[in-house]
C-alpha cells in the first residue's frame, strides 16, 4: 500500500479504451435512471409536450454524459494536479460576477460566456471538493488536527462562501459550507472542532434573529421574509408562501400511487409555480404517489451507496475524499431541495440534482461524477 500517487503503481491501472470496461457501471446506470425520470417528468409538466423543456434538457444530458465519459477516461492524477487551477478559476469567476454585478447589471449570479451561461457558484462546489481533497492528500495525516492546518482549509471554504453570500445566494452558501465541512470530517479532523463549530453556528443563528429590524441586521429583508414564510406559510398565501402551500398540496394529494402520468391537476392547472425547476419533485409525487417518490429516493440512495463502496476501495486520500465529497454535494443538494418542497426548509432556490430543468447545474454535476468515475477507473488494484 502506498500513500500518494507519486508512489502509485500505475501499471495496475487499465489503459486505452479498455478503461470503459472498468467504469463503475452500476453507478452510471443509477445516474442514467435518475436523469431519465427527469426527462419523463419534464415532458409531463409541459402538458405532454416533449419540445418545451424535455428536449433541450435531453440535449444537455447527452452533452453532459459525453463530458462525464471524457473526464472519467482522463487519469485521476491529472485531475489532482488540476485541483488548484480549478479552485482559482472558480474563485476568479465568482469575483467576475460580483464585479459585473456592481458595474450596474444588478444582482447577478450568471457569467455569460456566449455559448453557455455558467453559475460560478455551481463550479465552486466541485472545485472546492477537489481543492480540499488535494490538500489532505498532500498534508501529513499526523498534522490533520493541528490548528494551523485546520485554519487553512477553513479559508479555502470561507473565501468562496463570502463571495457567494455577496451575490446574495444564501442557499448555495450554506450548501458550500456543508460540503467543505464534510470533506474535513472525512479527512479525519478532530471531532472537537466540529463540536465547537456547532456551538458557534448556534450562536450565529441566534444573532441573525436577534439583530433583525436593527440597522445592522445580517440578512436582507426579503431573506427574513422567506424565513417567516417558511415558519408560517399561511401568513402570505399569495406571495412567497404560495409556492410552499401549492407544493405541499401537490405532493400530499398524490397518495399511495399517485394520479397517474400527466394527470396531476396541480401541475396541469398551473397552480404550481417553478414546476419544471425547483419544484419538479412535487409533480412526481403528485403523479406517481409515495411509490414513485420512494423509488426515486432509492435511486439516489443507490448512487450514494455506490460512491461510498467505491471510496472504501481507494488507497489514496485524494480519490477517496473526492468521491465522498462529490457524493456529499449530491446528498446536500437533494436533501435541501426535498426538505424545501416538503415544507421542512425555507425556499432557498436550489434545484433537484439531475431532475430540475436547467443546464448549468446538470452539466456541472455530470462532470463531477466524471471525476468520481475517473477515480474508480484509475484506482489501484491489488496485484495478487
Amino acid at each position: 500500500m502506498r500513500g500518494t500517487y507519486l508512489e502509485y503503481q500505475v501499471r495496475t491501472v487499465p489503459t486505452g479504451l479498455s478503461k470503459i470496461l472498468h467504469v463503475n457501471w452500476p453507478l452510471a446506470l443509477a445516474i442514467a435512471a435518475v436523469t431519465a425520470v427527469g426527462i419523463l417528468q419534464l415532458t409531463s409538466v409541459a402538458g405532454g409536450s416533449f419540445g418545451r423543456w424535455a428536449e433541450p434538457q435531453a440535449i444537455r444530458l447527452g452533452v453532459g454524459l459525453l463530458g462525464m465519459l471524457i473526464v472519467a477516461l482522463v487519469p485521476i492524477w491529472f485531475w489532482r494536479n488540476m485541483a488548484a487551477v480549478a479552485y482559482v478559476t472558480a474563485l476568479l469567476m465568482l469575483v467576475a460576477v460580483e464585479v459585473a454585478g456592481s458595474i450596474g447589471m444588478g444582482a447577478q449570479r450568471w457569467l455569460d460566456l456566449g455559448f453557455i451561461r455558467i453559475q460560478p457558484s455551481e463550479l465552486m462546489k466541485v472545485a472546492l471538493v477537489m481543492a480540499l481533497a488535494a490538500y489532505y492528500d498532500w498534508l501529513d495525516p499526523e498534522r490533520t488536527s493541528r490548528p494551523v492546518w485546520v485554519i487553512l482549509p477553513l479559508l479555502l471554504i470561507g473565501v468562496p462562501v463570502l463571495l457567494i453570500l455577496m451575490q446574495p445566494h444564501l442557499g448555495t452558501a450554506v450548501l458550500t459550507v456543508l460540503i467543505g465541512v464534510t470533506v474535513m470530517f472525512l479527512a479525519g479532523v478532530s471531532i472537537w472542532y466540529f463540536a465547537a463549530a456547532a456551538l458557534i453556528g448556534g450562536g450565529t443563528v441566534a444573532s441573525v434573529f436577534l439583530t433583525r429590524g436593527t440597522p445592522w441586521q445580517l440578512l436582507h429583508d426579503y431573506q427574513y421574509r422567506r424565513i417567516d414564510t417558511f415558519l408560517d406559510p399561511a401568513a402570505d398565501p399569495l406571495g412567497a408562501g404560495y409556492n410552499i402551500i401549492q407544493a405541499k398540496i401537490a405532493l400530499g394529494s398524490g397518495g399511495w400511487a399517485g394520479k397517474g402520468f400527466m394527470q396531476g391537476t396541480q401541475s396541469r392547472l398551473n397552480f404550481l409555480p417553478e414546476k419544471h425547476t425547483d419544484f419538479i419533485f412535487t409533480t412526481l409525487g403528485e403523479e406517481f404517489g409515495l411509490v414513485g417518490g420512494l423509488s426515486l429516493l432509492l435511486l439516489y440512495a443507490l448512487i450514494l451507496f455506490f460512491c461510498i463502496a467505491s471510496a472504501l476501495q481507494m488507497r489514496d486520500r485524494f480519490s477517496a475524499l473526492l468521491v465522498l465529497g462529490i457524493a456529499a454535494t449530491l446528498f446536500y443538494n437533494l436533501v435541501i431541495n426535498l426538505a424545501m418542497v416538503m415544507g421542512l426548509a425555507p425556499v432557498v432556490g436550489l434545484p433537484l440534482p439531475f431532475l430540475s430543468y436547467g443546464g448549468s447545474n446538470l452539466l456541472v454535476l455530470l462532470l463531477a461524477f466524471g471525476l468520481v468515475q475517473s477515480a474508480h477507473v484509475h484506482r489501484p488494484r491489488s496485484r495478487a
Binding site: M1, G3, D140, P141, T182, D221, L251, I308, V335
Partner: protein, 648 residues
C-alpha cells in the same frame, strides 16, 4: 518524511470509520424524508387531496385604483377612467392566430395594434389573461359578446386606466404611467406581485414615477371558481385592497395652463413659485406633449417625432435644463463683495465698453459703454464692466460660496425626474475636473454668469425668492397626501445684511421701472402688481475678434441653435414680494425682449388669480398683450369638483 505502514493503516481505518458514519447519517436523513413523504401522502393524503380539489377555487389579484393627482385647488390632473377591454388566454384560445384574426375583424383593430397584442401574448405564460385591445366602445363590446362562440379564450372586462384630462399642461410635472416593462421589474428588488400582471401601469417619469409607491396602493384579492381550463365561473368572495394615496400638488392648474400657453412653441421653460411658502405654482416646459399617448404605449411614429424634435418636448427643462445664468447672476456677485466688505455700494466704475486684462479684452454688452456707474445702476442697466472690476476684488471662491447660499448647484428634493445639479465652479473644481488652474479670466466670465456657471430654471426661481425674502426658501411640489398637508416653511434666515439685500432689490426694481432699465418695456404700472427683476442673455458661442471688428452678427441672422439664451428672473409685487419667477427661452435672443414679457405675464396672472385686465399693463404694451391673449389656447379652468375624489 516516509510514512510507515502502521500510520497508513490507521489513517485508512479512520477514513473508513468516518465514511461509514457519514453513510449512516445520510441513510437516516433520507429515511426521515421518506417518512415525511409517507406522512404527507398517506396519513394526510386525504386532506391534501381535498385541498387540491378546492384548488378549483383560485385566488386572483384585484388591482387597486391608482391614487389620483390634483392641483392645489382640487382640479383633477391625473385620474382613472373606466376602460372596456378584452383579454385573451392563450391556453383557452386554441388556435391563437385564428382567434386574433376574427377578433381584429370584429373590433376593426389596426395592424400595428394587432402586432403589439401578438407580442404581448407571446411574452406571457399561456394561462395569463393578456389585454389585447382596450378603450373599446360599447358597440365594440357588444360585437365581442355576440361573437363569443367564435372567440374562445376571449373575455370582455372592465378596468380602470389612467387619464390626464389636462393633457399637455402637466406632462412634465405629473409625468405619465405606462405598461410595466422588464426593465422596470429589474430595477425593483422583490417587486409587488401586482407588477407581474400583464400591462400593469407603472409611473415612468415625473411625479407618477417618483412617488409610485404611494400612488400604487395595495392589491385586493378575489376568490373565483375556475373550471378545469382555468376559466372563471363565478366569484365567491372578494377582499378589496387599499387604493393608492391621492396626492395634491402645489401647482395651480389655471396658472400652469396660462404659462404653458404663454411659452407657446418656443423651446422654453418657466417656474413660478410662492416666495413665502416655496410652493411651486407653475412649472411649465415647452414644447410639451400629450401624456395620454404613453398610457397605452405610444406608437413608434409618435415617439420618434417627439425624439427627433430639436426643441426636445420630452425634456423637463424647468429642472433638467442647465443654462449659463448670464446677467441674472450679477446680484450674487455684488452681494458676495458687500458681505465680505470688499466693496461699498457707492463705489463707481467707469465703463468704456470693455475691460482690458493682459492681452484679452472683455466686452460689455453695450459697445459704447455705460460711462460711470454705481452698483444699483450697473444692475439696472446690466453693465458688465462694473462686475468685471468688482469680481477681481471679490474672487471666485466668495462668489461661489454666495451662489451656493442661494441654491445654485443644489439638487432640490422634488419628485421629478432627472433633476440637474447645475454647476457652481470653484478653483478646486477646475483643478480636479478639468486639470487646469483657475484664471482671472474665468472669474470675469463667471461674474456675468457665463463661462462655467450653469443653473436650472428652478434654481434661478429659488435664487430670486431668496433675494426677495432674505430667507432660505426651498421649493415644494407635493401639497398634501391623502389630505395630510406636507411640511413647508417657515424657512431659516439666510443671515445676510438686510441693507445689502435692499440694494439688490433696488437694482432689480430699476431694471423694470426706470427708463434706462434693461426691461423697462416689461414694466407693470398697476401699483399692486409692480414687478422687479433682472434680465440675462447668455451666449452659447464665442465671438471672435474678427467678428467683433466687423460688427457682431445679430441674433436673428444666426441659425436658431447658435442664438443666445434669453433669461429673466423676477418677483412681484416689488414692495412686498409674493411670487418669484424664472423664465429661460432657449436661443430666444435677448432676455429683455424674449424672456421678460413672459415672466411679467406669468407673475401678473399669478397675482391676479385669473387672466388680468389689460388696464394693469402700460398703455404701450396693451395692444400686444391683447393680441397675445386672443391667440393663446387657454383652457377654461374647471371649477374644483367637490365630488372630485370619486373614482370612475
Amino acid at each position: 518524511m516516509k510514512r510507515t505502514e502502521q500510520q497508513l493503516r490507521e489513517v485508512q481505518a479512520l477514513f473508513s470509520r468516518r465514511a461509514l458514519v457519514l453513510g449512516g447519517v445520510q441513510a437516516v436523513v433520507l429515511g426521515g424524508l421518506a417518512l415525511r413523504m409517507r406522512a404527507m401522502q398517506v396519513e394526510d393524503g386525504d386532506a391534501y387531496r381535498l385541498l387540491a380539489e378546492e384548488n378549483r377555487v383560485s385566488l386572483r389579484l384585484i388591482p387597486p385604483p391608482r391614487g389620483q393627482i390634483f392641483d392645489r385647488a382640487g382640479v383633477l390632473v391625473a385620474g382613472n377612467e373606466q376602460n372596456w377591454r378584452v383579454t385573451l388566454v392563450r391556453e383557452d384560445a386554441g388556435d391563437v392566430e385564428a382567434v386574433l384574426a376574427r377578433l381584429a375583424h370584429v373590433l376593426g383593430m389596426a395592424p400595428e395594434d394587432l402586432e403589439r397584442a401578438r407580442a404581448e401574448i407571446a411574452r406571457h405564460p399561456p394561462f395569463v389573461p393578456v389585454t389585447v385591445a382596450d378603450r373599446l366602445t360599447w358597440e365594440q363590446m357588444s360585437a365581442v359578446a355576440v361573437n363569443a362562440p367564435a372567440l374562445p379564450g376571449v373575455t370582455p372586462e372592465v378596468g380602470l386606466s389612467r387619464v390626464y384630462p389636462l393633457q399637455a399642461d402637466f406632462a412634465h410635472v405629473a409625468g405619465y404611467v405606462g405598461p410595466v416593462s422588464e426593465a422596470d421589474l429589474a430595477r425593483i428588488e422583490d417587486p409587488d406581485p401586482l407588477l407581474r400582471l400583464p400591462r400593469f401601469p407603472i409611473g415612468k417619469v415625473g411625479v407618477e414615477a417618483r412617488i409610485e409607491d404611494m400612488l400604487r396602493g395595495t392589491s385586493g384579492t378575489r376568490q373565483i371558481e375556475v373550471n378545469a381550463g382555468g376559466r372563471m365561473m363565478r366569484e365567491l368572495a372578494r377582499v378589496e385592497g387599499t387604493p393608492g394615496a391621492d396626492v395634491q400638488l402645489t401647482i395651480d392648474a389655471g396658472l400652469q395652463n396660462y404659462v404653458q400657453a404663454r411659452l407657446g412653441v418656443e423651446s422654453s421653460s418657466c417656474v413660478v413659485m410662492d416666495c413665502a411658502s416655496g410652493d411651486l405654482l407653475a412649472l411649465a416646459s415647452a414644447p410639451s406633449f400629450d401624456p395620454n399617448l404613453f398610457v397605452r404605449g405610444i406608437s413608434t411614429a409618435d415617439f420618434s417625432a417627439l425624439m427627433e424634435n430639436d426643441h426636445r418636448p420630452l425634456s423637463t427643462k424647468t429642472v433638467q435644463g442647465a443654462y449659463p445664468p448670464g446677467s441674472t447672476f450679477k446680484m450674487l456677485v455684488a452681494l458676495a463683495g458687500l458681505e465680505a466688505g470688499l466693496i461699498t455700494p457707492d463705489e463707481t466704475v467707469y465703463c468704456p465698453g470693455h475691460l482690458q486684462l493682459g492681452d484679452r479684452r472683455f466686452h460689455c454688452w453695450k459697445g459704447g459703454g455705460h460711462g460711470r456707474v454705481d452698483m444699483v445702476q450697473s444692475i439696472a442697466e446690466s453693465c458688465d464692466v462694473y462686475f468685471y472690476e468688482i469680481a477681481q476684488k471679490v474672487g471666485i471662491e466668495r462668489i461661489a460660496a454666495m451662489a451656493r447660499r442661494f441654491g445654485l448647484g443644489e439638487r432640490f428634493d422634488l419628485p421629478l425626474s432627472g433633476i440637474a445639479e447645475g454647476l457652481v465652479p470653484s478653483m478646486d473644481w477646475k483643478r480636479t475636473v478639468r486639470g487646469e488652474s483657475w484664471l482671472v479670466g474665468d472669474t470675469l466670465n463667471a461674474s456675468i454668469g457665463q463661462g462655467f456657471v450653469l443653473s436650472s430654471p428652478i434654481q434661478l426661481a429659488v435664487m430670486t425668492a431668496r433675494l426677495a425674502t432674505g430667507m432660505a426658501v426651498t421649493p415644494r411640489l407635493i401639497k398634501s397626501v391623502n389630505g395630510i398637508e406636507q411640511p413647508a416653511g417657515p424657512f431659516a434666515d439666510l443671515g445676510l445684511n438686510e441693507n445689502h439685500l435692499r440694494l439688490q432689490r433696488r437694482g432689480m426694481y430699476e431694471v423694470t421701472n426706470v427708463r434706462r432699465g434693461t426691461a423697462y418695456g416689461s414694466r407693470i404700472e398697476a401699483e399692486e402688481y409692480t414687478i422687479a427683476g433682472k434680465t440675462g442673455t447668455s451666449q452659447v458661442r464665442n465671438i471672435t475678434v474678427a467678428e467683433r471688428a466687423r460688427g457682431v452678427i445679430r441674433n436673428d441672422q444666426l441659425p436658431w441653435n447658435r442664438r443666445d439664451h434669453a433669461l429673466f428672473v423676477g418677483y412681484a409685487p416689488a414692495d412686498a414680494p409674493r411670487v418669484a419667477c424664472a423664465v429661460v427661452v432657449e436661443h430666444g435672443g435677448g432676455g429683455s425682449a424674449a424672456a421678460a414679457p413672459i415672466a411679467r405675464d406669468a407673475m401678473v396672472r399669478a397675482l391676479h388669480g385669473d387672466v388680468p385686465p389689460l388696464s394693469v399693463y402700460p398703455a404701450s404694451a396693451r395692444s400686444a398683450v391683447e393680441a397675445l391673449h386672443r391667440t393663446m389656447p387657454l383652457r377654461p379652468v374647471a371649477p374644483p369638483a367637490t365630488g372630485g375624489r370619486t373614482r370612475a
